[in-house]
């Protein structure tokens, strides 16, 4: 079962990386950019008996290692593609 984890800084946490990228884009003429925040994307293929079991497993991975919940929120979504990295 293939799942995608999106990790974002929590609202209110200053995203210095996002601000730097935003400034760079503004310098390229994208002054209409209102806000930009940088996050992480992790794709996982996990063996699971059911969709719920797979999600639960990945949720556990997020809590134990993938996200630091002091700073970050995460969401888990299904991937429809057959392979994680299609050739």
């Amino acid at each position: 079962m293939k799942l995608r984890v999106l990790i974002r800084l929590k609202p209110g946490i200053l995203d210095v990386q996002g601000s730097a990228v935003q400034r760079a884009l503004a310098g390229l003429g994208f002054g209409d950019l209102r806000e930009l925040r940088v996050g992480k994307l992790i794709e996982i293929d996990v063996e699971a008996a059911s969709a719920a079991a797979g999600r639960q497993r990945v949720d556990e991975m997020c809590r134990k290692l993938l996200a630091n919940t002091i700073l970050e929120d995460y969401t888990i979504e299904a991937i429809e593609a057959e392979r994680l990295a299609p050739r």
């Binding site: 210095v16 990386q17 290692l65 002091i70």
Partner: protein, 237 residues
């Protein structure tokens, strides 16, 4: 006092700590590989600076779940001392052994410079040879040293005197201009509830001989030794 210096793939301050412990403070010391779990014959474990496991995912995140760090929990429960500097501090936070987390520097620069540290808590084994309000000089060298904790965590940390060092001016003023990385309330180092686990971003091992430009880092080791060896070799406050 028997020391262990932990080596992860990507650690870089291990040799410096080993040198200072063996050659400057002249105590028995050995390297501990990151897969080792046996810490039985040690009194103090040092988590040095560097980029453990490449700092992939987040600084210290993977190391925070490594076998040696898992073994540290029992080690601490049995009265062992842990000193985490730089990446070691990040690892202790990621492992949940210290509160809070270290983020990308607010200035986005890697900062390698000398800092002045105001000593706030002198009731820990690492600082008991110091005076409250004393200012120490130690270098920092990091890109992710901005200490952050949410409001309740910060309040609890302050209530139990968990803040040990703050970035300050040479005369001890805690001001924004003296904050190299945007840490909340200029926090540079914190201890756990029993005072036996200290994490700090500065490098005491790089301020341990006059040839290095200063010896203030030695004071942490000398304080620590004083808790076990009451021979009066360090200046009591």
């Amino acid at each position: 006092m028997r020391f262990g210096v932990v080596v992860f793939p990507g650690t870089w301050s291990d040799c410096d700590f080993h040198y200072v412990i063996s050659e400057v403070i002249r105590q028995p010391v050995k390297y501990i590989w990151h897969r080792d779990r046996n810490l039985a014959d040690l009194d103090c474990v040092v988590l040095p600076g560097g980029f453990s496991y490449g700092d992939y995912l987040r600084a210290g995140a993977v190391a925070g779940k490594s076998p040696v760090v898992e073994a540290l929990r029992d080690f601490v429960a049995n009265g062992g001392y842990v000193l985490g500097s730089c990446n070691g501090f990040q690892i202790l936070c990621e492992a949940g052994m210290l509160p809070g987390v270290l983020m990308r520097n607010e200035c986005l620069q890697y900062r390698c410079q000398s800092t002045n540290l105001l000593v706030e808590n002198v009731e820990t084994p690492f600082t008991r040879g110091l005076r409250a309000g004393q200012v120490l000089t130690m270098p920092i060298s990091h890109g992710e040293g901005k200490y952050y904790a949410d409001v309740p965590t910060l309040a609890a940390l302050k209530a139990r005197q968990g803040i040990v060092f703050r970035y300050a001016t040479a005369d001890g003023q805690v001001v924004k201009a003296a904050n190299p990385n945007g840490s909340v309330e200029n926090i540079a180092g914190v201890v756990n509830e029993t005072g036996t686990v200290l994490g700090l971003m500065p490098h005491p091992e790089r301020a341990a001989e006059t040839a290095m430009g200063g010896t203030d880092g030695l004071l942490l080791f000398q304080s620590l030794l004083g808790t076990l060896v009451e021979d009066g070799t360090f200046l009591k406050r």
